[in-house]
Symmetry: C2
Subunit: 223 residues, 2 copies
DNA sequence: AAATAAATTAATGCATACATTGACGAATGC
DNA sequence: GCATTCGTCAATGTATGCATTAATTTATTT
């Protein structure tokens, strides 16, 4: 699952920075010059720079000419963009995959993730729930064969991650979402592409609406 | 239209290399070590390296550990991936745009591009036709407001470009395609999102099939 | 002659050096 | 006191240097 560890400093810098951004240790809006980051990571500017270029390409940071890196905040508008794309891509991808009539062995990890979501929902363990939810989508991305789609959608997940973490606790327990996962899985088993697409589309549309409503309601201009 | 000219060497290297790849002056499979590229572009390795990292992120080249850059060939499988994504994204994006009920002024460039396609088809000027076709899609991308979608789809266009150029002359005149553009434009005018989506989906599905059939027929394993 | 080992070459990954230039603050003028 | 100019400082963009190490060639052995 984990990418091959290419023990290079660029790789190390990339992973560490990405992690610090995801976990809000480098919060949105955070800004620092390259040399500072380099010192913090204990390496020279060169590998840091290359890592930053990659992170910029993935939409996590911005390199401002004289002010260094800035961790990009996520605004409601960004979430709208991201969810529009997910709503277009994921349902079709999942439908295509369904039509390959995947066997039970292949679907096992999805079943596992779904079961975990159900259990976590029961025990009101939101962190575990979110982790399993994320895993479900990641697994599906891996199963569906389109590499470009996978990489791009994954980058979008990464961008949206922080906002999801914040808003997760601002709404009721995700019964509906959990149930939708279960239904999607059932239709994947049945090889019913059209139903998978329809449900997945609904799943994404609904979560987008919920999320945007929360951002609106709590005036969370940017995260 | 043209990106702001950020007179930096990285930018220059990026643009030149991208252009050389698009125009097949650096053909698929072409391979060269960094220092060689640097010398050819008359600059040091550093900016070249940064440009290459960006090009790699966009899927145009691959950086192989001890052998330098390699211009990625496009295989049938790649075209399939690319068209799957386009078929999911563009129709929805166009439909959303249609539902904003765009005015005639906004649609003018699209009308222009469509008219040019029709004229070029008439005079059997394939190059002009292809240019107008590309322009139509680019304009629509710009009009539709999703920036992430725009950048990503544009990168896909770039990847597919070479294959499109090659296959274009291996088939009959693109009557159907031209007509579809006209119809899509009509429904954009009418603000009829559903029809735009349906037609656009058909448009992409059909061109994908045609293209893949040609690749198959002429055994064009990679371009 | 084939296989193995040693030596050479060269590319990368990273560190470092340096010129340029924007940002910021101090000093000056009004 | 406020605006303006100048000077300092520091960050970036780029070049260069260097150690490491894979690839390749040459030499050696059987």
């Amino acid at each position: 699952m984990a990418e091959a560890v290419k023990s290079s400093r660029v790789e190390a810098a990339y992973e560490r920075l990405k992690d610090e951004i995801r976990t809000n240790r480098m919060p949105p809006g955070f800004q620092a010059p390259e040399p500072e980051i380099a010192i913090r990571l204990g390496m020279s500017r060169t590998p840091v720079r290359e890592a930053l270029i990659r992170l910029e390409a993935e939409g996590l940071v911005e390199l401002i000419p004289r002010r260094g890196v800035r961790v990009l905040p996520i605004r409601a508008e960004d979430m709208r963009e991201i969810y529009q794309i997910l709503t277009s891509l994921e349902p079709d991808a999942a439908a295509r995959y369904a039509e390959t009539n995947p066997g039970e062995a292949e679907l096992a990890p999805l079943e596992q993730a779904t079961a975990e979501m159900e259990a976590a929902l029961e025990s009101e363990d939101l962190d575990t729930w979110a982790e399993a939810d994320d895993r479900f989508h990641q697994i599906l991305l891996d199963l569906q064969g389109n590499r470009r789609l996978k990489d791009f959608v994954r980058a979008l997940y990464d961008q949206a991650h922080r906002a999801r973490v914040v808003t997760m606790r601002m709404r009721g327990p995700p019964h509906r979402s959990t149930q939708e996962h279960r239904e999607i899985l059932n239709y994947l088993r049945a090889g019913d592409g059209d139903s998978v697409r329809r449900l997945f589309k609904q799943h994404r549309t609904r979560s987008a609406e919920e999320l945007l409503a929360i951002l609106e309601k709590y005036k969370l201009g940017q995260l």
